[in-house]
């Protein structure tokens, strides 16, 4: 099957252009990426585009998107995406949040509890673990942080190369700086978010890589408990970047979830 072509577009939101990729046809689905940003294309995105009209924006200040100097919180980012959806006239949207993007998706669902069709959170940040810790990227290099997201180091090498180019390192540094600007303290969670998820009407799939070394699985358990219509599924042979390591398995899970909810 030939994959749908991706177009690159941009809309003005909160005074700045917000770049995004779009492909496919069907119900709208918004994919929110990791704190390390996103590679320009991924098999997982193509899989989603077979069933949905998929939107993959670059977070404001990430991956070449202009930095709003005033941006201070992940909740601000969530509001920017609500604005983005309004600007595009999209309703009945499903959200797929990957890691850091999962936190943004959860904030969006909490602030508009009846607005979304489905919610998929994959290794989502945003909730403080009770016993473990969310890996602090401030203490490790860009390479070590990205590598920590994979169960199998060979997958990292296949996607990023064994020696990622300097331009990739620079982009990781810029993305990290932006993450510090909006999620420095508390690091990678909101103490109020768990109390605000109970109103979410949308069915939710909470997926977690078995070997996630960045966000502990217990955070997935807490999400599944806080969201009224949630199911937790653990994906084998995957770290934090489930969509890069097990795109087929995750794509299948999303399709089954869509068929049954």
């Amino acid at each position: 099957m030939t994959e749908a072509p991706w177009t690159r577009e941009s809309v003005d939101v909160a005074g700045q252009p917000l770049p995004f990729m779009r492909a496919g046809a069907g119900d709208p689905l918004l994919v929110l990426s990791h704190d390390v940003g996103s590679l320009p294309s991924l098999p997982f995105y193509d899989l989603l585009a077979r069933q949905y009209t998929v939107y993959v924006p670059s977070h404001p200040g990430y991956d070449g998107s202009a930095r709003p100097e005033w941006l201070r919180s992940v909740r601000d980012v969530a509001i920017i995406y609500q604005w983005f959806l309004a600007e595009r006239g999209l309703t009945g949207v499903s959200l797929v949040g990957l890691g850091f993007g999962g936190w943004i998706a959860a904030e969006m669902a909490a602030m508009a509890p009846a607005a979304f069709r489905r919610l998929v959170l994959v290794g989502a940040m945003g909730i403080r673990p009770d016993s473990g810790e969310i890996l602090d990227q401030a203490l490790v290099s860009y390479l070590d942080y990205a590598r920590a997201g994979f169960a199998d180091p060979k997958v990292f090498e296949r996607l990023y190369g064994s020696e990622p180019p300097t331009s990739q390192l620079e982009q990781w540094d810029l993305n990290r700086e932006m993450t510090f600007r909006i999620a420095w303290k508390p690091y990678m969670y909101s103490p109020t978010l768990p109390h605000l998820l109970g109103g979410v009407r949308a069915p939710a799939l909470v997926a977690w890589g078995r070997q996630d070394r960045i966000v502990p699985l217990e955070c997935g358990e807490r999400y599944a408990k806080a969201l009224p219509r949630a199911r937790l599924v653990v994906v084998e042979d995957a770290g934090h970047f489930v969509e890069m390591e097990q795109p087929e398995a995750l794509g299948k899970l999303v399709a089954e979830f869509a068929a049954t909810s």
């Binding site: 203490l139 290099s141 860009y142 510090f180 600007r181």
Partner: protein, 418 residues
């Protein structure tokens, strides 16, 4: 000239092997290796060194602070400044300085500094720094807003010192309902502010715009000259002439009775494996957002091990470039003369020893510096016209071009106005 004594206050009683095994001697190197019995002994030893420095004729004592690392035991420079305010009578207490971005309450800093100024009878020089990258991580402060916090805290402190309260402060990083500290500095308009630094162009430009003396920290002579070119050009744009009164330099300089001993002890300046802040992961010393965007490309390559550390030079190279000077009083003088002639600073800090140098050798070095080196350096300074900000009666800043008029001149011993 204004000649200061300086020590990093090394925690020279930690197990070196443990640092090597761990692969780092900063930030994450466990404080289970910190022995408070030794810590107590060393702090008290450093107090004796400061007293001796005043006795043998230094004009000032320079203090600094760092966190989570054996290279510097001083976790709060205002603590030692307070001690010195009470136990010394003549020397300037030169803080280089308080790391402003680490403060969540700059008004508290303004109060502490005002207290130190009053207790010391107007002997405070209050330098400010951004703090190292590791300092941000050690104190949980966002490195991405380091420079913004530095500038805003500076503005708030100067205002708290100079504008009668109460007033309200609604800034980007600091908000205060009522700024009205019942402690204000003795020196008017406020204590002198000096800005130390190593590399960052932004800081040099900022200091020059404020007309604050910049203190180059042990840079090589050629690099120091470039710093003054930049400083002077910004000064000219700002509307004044830069010169010796705006220039300071921290010189590592160990003096002993023999050349051999001096050289052997000077090797201790490399005791933190050549990187004076200790072995650390590059992303600890330069977290994202902390360093100049113009250096990003070089830095990210260094951070993943594709580029050598731009700061680590070999001992022999540092001797050749005079970043380290060692010898007898007689042999160090020509090299100090070269420093003065080529870079023309009026403020010179003598970082006299480091690491595992014995107490006895450190005391000897301080004594020889005071008795045999400083008088000759003062003569050179006179000959070369290197007037310190005090001698030149230079304005404290661009904002206050008029002569400083201390409210309580009588409180200041004459000898302090050197």
């Amino acid at each position: 000239m204004h000649l200061m004594y300086f020590t990093e206050q090394p925690m020279s009683a930690y197990p070196e092997a443990a640092g090597r095994d761990f692969g780092a001697t900063a930030l994450m190197f466990s404080n289970r290796h910190f022995d408070p019995v030794e810590g107590s002994r060393l702090y008290n030893q450093y107090i004796e060194h400061y007293k001796l420095a005043e006795d043998v004729g230094f004009d000032g004592i320079m203090l600094n602070e760092h966190h989570n690392a054996p290279f510097c035991m001083q976790a709060k420079c205002n603590v030692f400044a307070s001690i010195l305010a009470a136990i010394t009578t003549r020397v300037k207490i030169v803080l280089l300085g308080n790391p402003l971005p680490l403060a969540d309450n700059p008004v508290r800093l303004a109060e502490e500094l005002a207290m130190i100024d009053m207790v010391s009878k107007g002997r405070l020089v209050s330098g400010f720094v951004r703090g190292g990258g590791q300092e941000q991580l050690a104190t949980g402060v966002n490195p991405a807003f380091n420079r913004e916090r530095f500038e805003e805290a500076h503005e708030l402190i100067v205002r708290a010192w100079t504008q009668p309260g109460p007033f309200r402060w609604e800034g980007n990083h600091y908000q205060h309902r009522v700024v009205n500290p019942w402690a204000v500095p003795l020196q008017k308009p406020h204590p002198r502010i000096w800005i130390p630094g190593v590399l960052s162009k932004e800081t040099i430009i900022w200091a020059a715009r404020q007309r604050y003396p910049y203190i180059a920290l042990s840079t090589a002579i050629d690099a120091t000259k470039k710093i003054w070119e930049l400083y002077d050009s910004v000064a000219a744009e700002t509307g004044y002439a830069g010169g010796p009164a705006n220039r300071g330099y921290l010189q590592r300089c160990h003096v002993a009775e023999t050349e051999e001993k001096a050289l052997a002890n000077a090797r201790q300046f490399m005791w933190m494996q050549g990187e004076f802040t200790g072995l650390a992961h590059p992303v600890w010393s330069s977290p994202s957002g902390y360093f100049s965007p113009s250096n990003r490309r070089a830095f990210v390559e260094f951070a993943v091990g594709r580029r050598a550390n731009p700061r680590a030079a070999a001992f022999e190279d540092q001797l050749r470039d005079q970043q380290i000077i060692a010898g007898t009083p007689k042999t160090v003088l020509p090299r100090l003369r070269r420093l003065l002639e080529e870079t023309r600073p009026s403020i010179v800090g003598f970082w006299a020893s480091d690491g595992f140098v014995s107490n006895e050798d450190t005391m000897t070095s301080i004594r020889l510096l005071g008795q045999e080196v400083l008088p000759a350096v003062r003569e050179m300074g006179k000959e070369l016209g290197l007037l310190s900000p005090f001698e030149a009666d230079a304005p404290v800043s661009i904002k206050y071009p008029e002569r400083q008029t201390p409210r309580a001149e009588a409180a200041m011993p004459q000898a302090a106005v050197r």
